[in-house]
Amino acid sequence: MSAMLRKVSIVLAILALVTMIAACGGTSGSSSNGNVAAIIKGLDNPFFQAMQQGIQDESRALSTTVTVQAATSITDTTGQADKLQALAGQNYACYVVNPISGTNLVQPLVPISQAGKPIINIDNPISPQAAQSAGLKISTYIGTDNISAGKMAAAEMAKLLPNGGTVALIGGIAGDVTSQARLTGFQQGLPSNIHVIQTVAANWDRQTALTDAGNILRANPDLSGFFVANDDMALGVGRAISDAGKQGQVKVVSVDGIQDALKAIQTGTLSATVSQYPYTIGAMGMEACKAAMEGKTLPTSVTAPVLVVTQANATQALASFPKPFASYNDPFTSLIGK
């Protein structure tokens, strides 16, 4: 046999072997295994670590089993889709999805929706047009309205700068829906005596935000404040401000409510944050799955709690972290008879 033929026959032998194993390999049963699968964004951000914790804690409380898979990073759209596709083949009873973009999980969700499995969309909404054109049935959406979060941040900035001033905006990945909504909401909520002088996109990255903030401060020494689209970046901005020796003089308001940000508000490095509760969003997602698996009809969309944390209530917020420090409405508790 020539070397070429030998190689080809080796490849064919491998293929035959795999096919044989596949033939007597596992068959996916028609009845589900009663477990829940959750796919969330990258764990490189503590926001999603809290979300994962919320999902897992609630799953234990409800005596269900959950598998949580996360994307490799906040930009890993195809990787997240690949992971969901792998999970779709494993026949879970319910799927909790937090997509990186409005469309990247639409294609892997098609077979899940066709099999009639409940799909709980949390935090980042799936694009309604894409869902409609692919024929997806989303059972419910649980999240916070990022536009109103931005407006709440603007109201807080107005309180911090009663005599007006100039602010710079630091967004996440350019064009990201969440980032866009927060920035838009902030600008809508600003009083007329506060002006936005610059907007930059720092890719949700603390390091990038630090560098950008430093540059903006040097170019605009009279800057009064920053609005930052998430806490991770805000911590970078806070560092840039203290490096410039202006701690306390330049206000920083952000969104998310991660633990380090709450601590930074206590010490005065950051001024305020609009706290979303990823832990609660994740937990409510689990509750929604439990309700769906029991055959209950779910509300189309549920708003998760949002609270503003300032130096006045930072200690209280930290004490109850990762849960909200005020009461909130949870429609799922009555559905599952808690």
């Binding site: 390999g25 996360a70 054109s133």
Partner: protein, 328 residues
């Protein structure tokens, strides 16, 4: 691979020759990716009852399609002793061009053609600067990586564009019988690439250019044109892959993902293609791409957390690289 004289061989000594070859570490090193894939299939097959289900194998093949195409393009470049770091941005630029064209009401076919042309443009720029201006491929393609990413951001104004097209949806989810369209496209690319590389004069010139450029030039081969062609092929395949990418995630996203770039190089090297050029084939990189995709899929099915997945991938790639030390 060592060629043993085959004139007048009896069946017995042929078998002995094959066995002798199996004992040589060089044989296994050439087939690193295949060996690793088989081990992986066995381990994951035992560990998870769904890994070897037809649905999951389909999922792996579909997920691997884009990487396979990028790896084939990368293989052409690496075979000329070059490297193409710009594939990630060419991929992004192609999908952005597609998204912009389609969202401005242009025909989907035209938008796809433009995406491919965008990829070719990046490849031609790479090829011309590397071959004619004689600048190192590493630096040039690093530069085009950044430049193409910038063009993509400018064209899209930094915003992702949702692409809702029944054609792309069918491309992403449809199949001919049990074989998804994605897999067919990737398979056709691999087969055509193999034929070009081993059954055309251009392929021979390509291998010669990478193996020994001086000798190739002495034989009358225009190594400059061969190199330009190699980078153009890589760009073309990135443009073609961008159509599949847009179909898969339903949008044109301006943020380039360097995972594809690193994986394309890893797939090619694990597939037995020498970074020094002139030595290798197409099936190796294809198996390498399948290996990397199956690895993530299997670890996900086994419920391995994200952090351990990255550790596992790193260890396996290094182990495979150690095996490749035995390559001649």
């Amino acid at each position: 691979m060592s060629r043993i004289a085959t004139t007048g061989q009896t069946g017995q000594s042929q078998a002995a020759a094959t066995l002798r070859q199996l004992r040589e570490p060089a044989f296994w090193a050439d087939w690193t990716a295949a060996v690793a894939l088989i081990i992986l299939v066995i381990v994951f097959g035992i560990g998870s009852s769904t890994f070897l289900s037809w649905g999951n194998i389909q999922a792996i093949l579909v997920a691997a399609a884009i990487l396979v195409m990028l790896s084939v393009g990368q293989a052409f470049v690496i075979l000329t002793a070059g490297i193409d770091l710009s594939v990630a941005s060419a991929l992004t630029l192609g999908s952005v061009v597609l998204g912009q064209a389609y969202s401005h009401g242009w025909n989907m076919v035209l938008a796809c053609v433009l995406a491919i042309l965008a990829g070719i443009a990046v490849g031609v720029v790479n090829g011309l600067v590397i071959a004619k201006a004689k600048i190192t491929d590493f630096i040039v393609t690093l530069g085009t990586l950044s430049a193409a990413a910038g063009v993509a951001l400018i064209l899209s104004n930094g915003e992702p564009v949702t692409i809702i097209s029944s054609f792309l949806l069918r491309l992403a989810t449809g199949s001919v019988g049990p074989i998804p369209y994605f897999v067919i496209v990737a398979a056709v690319v691999a087969i055509v690439a193999h034929i070009v590389l081993f059954h055309t004069r251009f392929g021979t010139h390509l291998l010669a250019t990478g193996g020994d450029p001086e000798a190739a030039r002495a034989m009358g081969i225009n190594t400059d044109r061969v190199k330009i062609a190699a980078y153009t092929i890589s760009g073309f395949l990135a443009g073609l892959a961008s159509i599949l990418l847009a179909a898969r995630i339903g949008a044109a996203e301006p943020a380039a993902d360097t995972t594809f770039l690193l994986n394309s190089v890893a797939a090619v090297v694990l597939g037995g293609v020498s970074l020094f050029g002139g030595r290798g084939n197409i099936i190796g990189p294809v198996v390498g791409a399948l290996l990397l995709t199956a690895l993530v899929n299997g670890l996900t099915l086994l419920g391995v957390s994200q952090f351990y997945q990255q550790l596992a991938i790193g260890i396996i790639v290094v182990l495979a690289a150690m095996l490749m030390r035995y390559q001649r």
